[in-house]
């Protein structure tokens, strides 16, 4: 195995690991499942790394591989949806705008996002990551128009989850 390539890969992943953690948190519900998915994504990224030619940013490429892994290749039995990880989320609100209601609302919203199906979750995740529709369409391999339509549908679903 090429040690230089390994070293380069690990350095890049270490610097960009937040992306993977955020995906793991969205797609799993406890620490074990989080670590498990993190490891699976790392393996898949490493397997795919020789094909990464650097024509896109490493982080952009990572979104694609990590989301595909979470959606398709990860064994799903380990991540049953439940809502008991409310406490572990602990959103930190900027002090000047802090109040219980805002925090509670954010928690409810986050919980609603977690209840979406895998694909909608991926769309909303990229939206939260402040990606343009062009980037979202590129990452998920769909047209820009389709990305917008799907995002609107996902928002509708979120509304329904929050106001049943």
């Amino acid at each position: 195995m090429d040690k230089k390539l390994e070293h380069r890969f690990v350095k890049l992943l270490e610097a960009n690991q937040n992306i993977v953690h955020k995906i793991c948190r969205l797609y799993t519900n406890d620490k074990d499942a989080h670590d498990d998915l993190f490891q699976e994504i790392t393996i898949q990224l490493w397997r795919a790394f020789p094909k990464f030619r650097g024509d896109s940013k490493f982080s952009t490429w990572m979104y694609r591989v990590a989301l595909n892994t979470a959606i398709t290749l990860y064994r799903k039995s380990k991540r049953q949806i439940d809502t008991q990880d409310f406490e572990s989320l602990s959103f930190k609100i900027k002090s000047e705008e802090y109040d219980d209601t805002t925090e509670q609302q954010l928690k409810l919203m986050y919980d609603a996002v977690k209840k979406l199906n895998d694909i909608d979750k991926a769309l909303v995740f990229l939206y939260l990551e402040d990606k343009s529709y062009r980037e979202i369409s590129g990452t998920l391999g769909i047209s820009e128009v389709n990305a917008r339509v799907k995002m609107n549908r996902a928002k509708d679903k979120l509304r329904k989850i929050l106001n049943p």
Binding site: E40, Y74, I119, L128, N146
Partner: protein
């Protein structure tokens, strides 16, 4: 959707809350094995091949001698070689599927690869079940037509089994045993590959949703 935008505002500021995995720990992860479904299909097919091969080693000597005396030894030998050759091809195909399912592929390519994997597994099961049925029918027909020879080789007279009607009783019991074996084989495939294929199908549906 104001609430979602609020969550978005807050999203980036949370980054310091996320766990940090060290360089060394990530390095160690590269050595770990993937747990993807396609890999399991590949691993199970190899275990299955080893299982069938081991059966030939634990086959009693008497059985081999009986085949010899019935004149079936050569045919059996060629059948086994053919069977393992086909088995080998399937293992190569499973390995190729495992290698070709790369998460970087575009959604369409990934879907195509999932379909290919499912197809290979289906053909593998069809081949094995079909081969077992064909083989059983051929052997039973041969033994039925050579029932006198079989009666002598198996020394049924010594066991007090009458010669009259022996061929019919023999063939009926062979058919019953054959059905049970095939049913067990189908049950095995249904349990092992069925579960894995179901998961793959689920993943395929998820991918299809993206394009719908």
């Amino acid at each position: 959707m104001d609430k979602l935008d609020k969550l978005k505002e807050n999203w980036q500021s949370e980054e310091h809350e996320l766990p940090k995995v060290s360089f060394d720990k990530i390095y160690k992860m590269l050595l770990k094995k993937s747990s993807s479904i396609v890999k399991w299909i590949f691993v199970i097919s190899i275990i299955e091949l080893l299982f069938w091969i081991s059966l030939y080693f634990i086959l009693p000597e008497d059985n081999i001698n009986m085949m010899k005396e019935l004149g079936l030894e050569r045919v059996m030998y060629y059948c086994e070689i053919f069977h393992f050759f086909i088995f080998g091809i399937f293992i190569i195909l499973f390995y190729k599927n495992y290698k070709s399912i790369q998460v970087t592929d575009s959604t369409n390519v990934l879907m195509q690869n999932i379909l290919n994997t499912r197809k290979t597994v289906r053909y593998f099961v069809y081949y094995n079940v079909g081969m077992t049925i064909a083989f059983s029918v051929a052997i039973d027909t041969y033994l039925y037509n050579n029932s006198e020879k079989l009666y002598e080789v198996m020394d049924f007279a010594k066991q007090g089994i009458p010669k009259e009607g022996f061929a019919n009783i023999f063939i009926i019991s062979q058919i019953i045993v054959g059905f049970v074996i095939i049913a067990l084989l189908i049950l095995f495939y249904w349990l092992v590959y069925g579960i894995l294929l179901k998961k793959l199908k689920g993943n395929y549906r998820e991918l299809k949703k993206i394009n719908s």
